[in-house]
Symmetry: C2
Subunit: 348 residues, 2 copies
Amino acid sequence: MGREVSPARRPTIREVAKAAGVSAATVSRVLGGSSAVSAESTRRVREAAGLLGYAPHVAARSLASGRTHVIGVLVPNLANPYFYALIKRVLHAAHKDSYGLIVADSDESLADERTMGLNLLRHADGLILCAPRCNVSTLDELADEGKPVLVLNRSIGRVPLTTIVADNVTAMRELTRHVIGLGHRRIAYLQGPPRSWQGKERWRAVRGLRTPHVEIIPVPGGGTMDDGYRAVPELLATGCTAVLAHNDLTAVGVIAGLSERGLDVPGDISVTGYDDIPFARFMSPPLTTVRGPNEEAGAAAWRAMAALLDGAAPGTRTQLTAAPVIRDSTAPPKTVGRADAAGMAESG
Amino acid sequence: MGREVSPARRPTIREVAKAAGVSAATVSRVLGGSSAVSAESTRRVREAAGLLGYAPHVAARSLASGRTHVIGVLVPNLANPYFYALIKRVLHAAHKDSYGLIVADSDESLADERTMGLNLLRHADGLILCAPRCNVSTLDELADEGKPVLVLNRSIGRVPLTTIVADNVTAMRELTRHVIGLGHRRIAYLQGPPRSWQGKERWRAVRGLRTPHVEIIPVPGGGTMDDGYRAVPELLATGCTAVLAHNDLTAVGVIAGLSERGLDVPGDISVTGYDDIPFARFMSPPLTTVRGPNEEAGAAAWRAMAALLDGAAPGTRTQLTAAPVIRDSTAPPKTVGRADAAGMAESG
DNA sequence: GTGAAAGCGCTAACAG
DNA sequence: CTGTTAGCGCTTTCAC
């Protein structure tokens, strides 16, 4: 009803050409936006294409042109809202430039990261790697495919790879100082996934922060809520009054485990996260965490990819800044005088 | 180091053929797994391909074969962990059958749903629509493209579309009965996104549950945490002692808003969600919700898609069941005697 | 069981 | 500014 009869076969560029009274090449030029075509031809091609409901065959187009107009994005774990937040902007930016994005989830597997990366590269004109866990050799194996590769959220030493990273060391330090400023003297640090570069960075930041009379105890963790939840006994065993979790997800797990044991956050123990996932501000207590420049990073990533696609030299490094967001999951420890703690909290 | 020099150009099937001493057609047959090829030829082709690091050119392959070996998946909102959970299984199943999945997020926009669906269909051999918001005419416009289209989590009346849905009406009723059983007599129902079919279904389930002395008041809501948070004043205005939120995300928002006002959940007000996102069991209080058969639905979806791809007739309808998960966000209302409430809660 | 040949639908020189 | 001519790399009849 009112709907056109669907053609058994989709119209080809040649049919459009015939209908418009021009050659296939001209149709291609009009639709591809390339070189100059007379206004009249353009109009007729547009009209004919519209009438026939023509849409270019993507496979044919990429076979002929050598470009797919698609970019691959690989993330370690889409279940983490953080990664979604990170790529959301890229998605929109790419769409605006009429590029498609295909996103894949390596599920924290090193092997899959390689395989999926390689595979994405076969479908796409370029690849954006979010916080890749793989080692450098895999990274340049990917780069050696001859297509633009861009790394988000991890900086690479020697390889001339384009990278975009937030300065997490500074942010993590500020967060730690906030906790120390509240008066905590015995702090547990719940580590991230074993292979996470971000995890190493954050731990480096915390560890480097030598402060008299403050002890920071590392505890093996992971990247998921479950990892945080399971780490609670060990965390408690440290006798800490605050725990710095690798990210928001693990912080959530920690808080859940603590609550289950009747411990109050931040009354009994303070907990911090990292990432500021949407959930962080809605949980109870709202989570003290670090907000990264996700939007800017996404925008920068697309800009860099567009440049690379345009033939720009790789190796650009963009550095952005992140900052703590203090909410209600952190407070002075029970044993410390309020006045003192409050005073220290305000400083810095 | 130890890494092979990357070839400027990727090897073609003809080069593999030459190296193996066979024709391109034979290579194609071996790699495509089709028809019978002698063991010897097979071995030599495999070897040559391995040596040259050959990988088929996907665009050329789909141009020639007419198939892309890719399936499109469209979800209304990837920021909702529920959708990720729903498609995760599909992702794995597809991968196992060496199909690629490209997932797109329509961001709750009807227009984008159409455009993106159409676009996915141009890149893929089939399309899986998760809880599409679009109207039926768009749905069959998509189906009319001549490729398999499958709808997850929404059942369609007249169109002979393959669908897979969970019986949410029953689950929602059970959840509501649980709340009523606890003794609540004035219950607010926080509605879902305007165009959500699931939302309509759930509300239908609740509304149809006529119970003497129980009043259920609908309040406009949405699908995000923010939507839930913003609805709190209106929810409170109803004077309810329990709120049934459209989904977990909105429930989280409601609980956050309630806490901010010093109200305790479930002490002052009980709150339920829907979906059982991973977060639900880790929040405080752990959320009473409904767990859908996500895994089964995902598996069924892939099975159905594989059948469709194989030429099976569309129109299959698969129905699965969902069930409430009672946690700690629901309790008897303050004004009701505990014994009575407990008694009712156990019944049904 | 295997090869030769003919395109799939499009883009990109190259002439005009 | 526009048409003609070649393929892009692969699959797929069709003979042998």
